[in-house]
Symmetry: C2
Subunit: 361 residues, 2 copies
Amino acid sequence: MTIYNFSAGPATMPQPVIQQIKDDLPSYKNSGMSVMEISHRSSLFDGIIADAEQDLRDLMNIPDNYKVLFFQGGGTLQFTAAPLNLATKYHRIGLLDSGHWADRAGDEASRVGVKVDVLDSTKDIKYTELPVLKDLKQDTYDYVHITTNNTIEGTAYSKIPDTGATELVGDQSSNFLAQQYKVEDFGAIMAGAQKNLGIAGLTIVIVRDDLIGKVKNLPSMVDYELFAKKNSMFNTPPVFAIYAAGLVLKWLKEQGGVPEMERRNLKKSGLLYDYLDNSKLFTAPVKKADRSLTNIPFITGDPDVDADLISKATAAGLLNIKGHRSVGGMRASLYNAMPYEGAQALVDFLEKYEADYWRTH
Amino acid sequence: MTIYNFSAGPATMPQPVIQQIKDDLPSYKNSGMSVMEISHRSSLFDGIIADAEQDLRDLMNIPDNYKVLFFQGGGTLQFTAAPLNLATKYHRIGLLDSGHWADRAGDEASRVGVKVDVLDSTKDIKYTELPVLKDLKQDTYDYVHITTNNTIEGTAYSKIPDTGATELVGDQSSNFLAQQYKVEDFGAIMAGAQKNLGIAGLTIVIVRDDLIGKVKNLPSMVDYELFAKKNSMFNTPPVFAIYAAGLVLKWLKEQGGVPEMERRNLKKSGLLYDYLDNSKLFTAPVKKADRSLTNIPFITGDPDVDADLISKATAAGLLNIKGHRSVGGMRASLYNAMPYEGAQALVDFLEKYEADYWRTH
């Protein structure tokens, strides 16, 4: 049986990458050591991390005045690190409250003493559309934080809000490299790796170099200036996760880069949205203009039907389509590594399930 | 050619573990997914993390009133986390300055506003013996921080300093599970995984439960109480690193546990120390009573000879014996996964090198 894994993260990875990782065991490049065992100060690893950075720069057209940093601790540690490093003038940030992860970012900023103003929120409509930035007061906020793609709620900014002279910080965790953004629109970008870039335990930060070094004596593991200076190797970095990310980045380049990924993701998600919008059983609750390409929640409105569907989908090899507990229903995550055939198999399954359903209801 | 990897970390892993990781690709337990792709909320991962915790509890005889937490960020993030969580009454800690990593721990504590008193230091003798705790003033420090094994300098506490009613926090990163300590002697233990427990990107914290929860609103990624409450899954944990650690823990149990590891490590390190102490070319600079079982620095006193030796050792498959830049010379790390044959091969090589050396000098 062919398995398709629709998990929101950790998530499906490109099969050639998994195969390469297997092939590289137990001896990486005939070194007699696996990547898990090589020193981060070795020439073998120098090549891995340098390639990963360069490939990411190529894929995202990252300008030279932006640093690429490799952190641990997930998006959550960056919700602490970003305000500590960047909210140094006004000690105040603006937040577009687009869902769970935006709210979490605001919460962590508050914990380190930074004031957080919610500029707009769509919480009252269960985050089924995106908050909108209107009349941003300049010279007030060190930055505005947005979540470019909301993993749980299934919304995404296809057009980035214009913050004028105020910096924009984007949490791109769940659509990183999956749709096209201009790095120059952001002062900083953060992204956990476990959705579109490999395995959990690695977080990428891309930050414009004039924004860092404004504050001294930060805890080292959240210090952007220190990580930039030490090439992300102040202490032992997550060697294996960086290696896996490097393989995913090479795969992305071979496939045609981010424009091709966006094209495929539009096609995959379009297939599913089209079906859902024409279905009498299922609803995709998110406003059309704000829909995510990578995370697609859908519901029947009947928890018993949802549970039956999820159970049958699992038995059919369509794994992890259970929705987040805060939204309920189902969610299909269609990241870069999900092939079109996976989206097709899911739609085929849903069509058949719906037909069976209407025969008995 | 048989390769032996003497790297101080990331370090050699048990070959059966590497083989198991390879065998588990691309499909873990016939799930159709690799461990890198499974959700941390899945029953597959529940089994992995629960087993890892239980096996660690069994191996270290961890009492029930101690929590086992899985963090990211290495020892360095714990140098921030420990004072934030534990230095809540006096905001002052005592430090036994035994080397680079002890100094780093003190530095990070200072960065979060905790006073650090160096209770003893052996910096003036290049850390070739351990600092000693004398006349500790009670009711002064939230805890005393020690580094049980000093990776760079090659010293280790075989007997834990008695801090009386003052708590002891131990950084066991480089001899974790490699020699026997009583968990009850510590209020908290921290250990990076990349030496004796698998791959970089995972840090274990073992902390007595009455010590946590004394302070609210910490950044989540350093909050011991939150991690305890959320079973280390407040956000996505480093799934693959926890899986690899779990395999290492199972291997350790099969081998006979920590007492057997300590016996083997005494035998391996004894072989090398005996040779070095009888050599006319090499010196092991550390005081005998304070020597590490896992990290063994040695020097010739002539950087050209050191460089020649390291180059020839590398060509002979004895990898990563270059000493840390702060000590110079050579260092052999003989962690649990290094077989006796590795230590023997190194001694054989050094004997032959020395014999050749005296023929020409």
